[in-house]
Symmetry: C2
Subunit: 227 residues, 2 copies
DNA sequence: ACCTGAACACCGTTCAAGT
DNA sequence: ACCTGAACACCGTTCAAGT
């Protein structure tokens, strides 16, 4: 009996959530957050806007999905390290590199920190902190310190990419600092003056790593017994 | 000679940047970020949208101005403490409380970390870290660790307020964790299971303070010589 | 079932016209 | 100089109509 029929008698390049998310990622990477519109995606598949809504719930969900996709890729690649602390470093750096490659991911995880993919991160870091002898009662605060730090760096990265797109200057932050200084008494603010100098040649990644070490060290001193 | 004339022969409740910013803050506090539209502000002053553009550059600038206003208030209230570390705590907590009272500020500083008001913060924290014996070469990374942590917490706060407005549940994060757990093998993820329990009664402010201590401790151990 | 594209209800911003 | 409000160029989302 012919009770069933092949489902896809339509065009072979049919839409799907997966293909739409991939197209969204491509648009976001190429032209930034503002370029992601339902109309742009529809145009990419040479169809109407309504077709998109058959496969994704809306723009917000699409952004969530795209972010989850990148984040899952980033954390899936992370292997187990011998030392728990090294595993934590690997997770943090993995997300950092993903945000570096896709700055809009930074904006999204700062906007929606309760994303499922971020909870995976919480688990990855938290479970390894417990291996570092952090007592159960303090695991939550120790984990969230690392995650919040990561969130802050991610947000800053996204902002940097946004500014770099708007105005084509490499050192937007440095110039913001210069402006800050020029409006104030320079002698009264030796730190900012020195900061402006350090800012020119600084490496974001090195700086991010230094922050991880500071926090891990703080956690070890505060909660750890042995090592 | 009558070379000058009183400027304000118009209605006494004339528009001004200051009044517009105040109105924007009121709208943001009452109805959230989405409610801030140029039309809403114009309606508040019973005028046309164009009038607003005579006093502020646009919506982005208005949001920047409103954020700067709140942040300046928050940092201006901070007095000098005996210990440099206490001053740093006061600055961090001052911003935290401001974000707590005005969650949209958290979203804005995460979106534009190069805001002038945030550089003030950088100066406030950085100059005090140098009093904590942090060597000049490492001042930048130590300061940015604290600021990035603050940025992350601020972003999370803003997201929480947004979710609390959308759905009226107190523990959105807890329920997100519950969902996360329900989709996975619970026994394989002891940390998240325990986390869900800790989340119910946790105090955001206490947790934030714990993170500050972790980072300050890490900075002291890593860079400080005496105390 | 899936796609199409016009229509709806918004935005931010601009600008000729008023006072 | 300042204000007014229509007009413009967009959005996300919905929905009747097609295949």
């Amino acid at each position: 009996m012919t009770t069933s029929r092949p489902a896809a008698t339509y065009r072979s390049d049919a839409l799907s959530q997966e293909r739409i998310v991939q197209a969204a990622i491509a648009i976001l990477d190429k032209d930034g957050e503002d370029a992601l519109t339902i109309r742009a995606i529809a145009a990419h598949f040479a169809t109407g806007q309504g077709a998109i809504y058959h496969h994704v719930g809306g723009k917000k969900e699409l952004l969530r999905e795209a972010t989850g996709h990148i984040l899952n890729d980033a954390t899936a690649r992370i292997g187990e390290q011998d030392l728990a602390a090294d595993s934590i470093r690997a997770v943090m750096v993995g997300v950092f590199d993903a945000v570096d490659a896709h700055p809009w991911v930074g904006a999204q995880i700062a906007r929606e920190p309760s994303q499922v993919a971020l909870l995976d991160l919480f688990e990855l870091i938290g479970s390894r902190l417990s291996a570092l002898d952090v007592p159960a009662a303090e695991l939550f605060e120790a984990t969230s310190t690392l995650v919040n730090y990561l969130l802050g760096v991610a947000a800053q990265y996204a902002a940097g990419a946004r500014l770099a797109r708007d105005a084509d200057r490499t050192d937007f932050l440095a110039s913001a600092v210069e402006e800050w200084i020029s409006r104030r008494d320079m002698a009264a603010h030796p730190f900012m003056h020195q900061l402006a100098a350090q800012m020119v040649g600084h490496d974001d990644r090195v700086q991010f790593l230094a922050g991880i070490e500071i926090i891990l060290e703080g956690i070890t001193v505060r909660y750890g017994q042995t090592r």
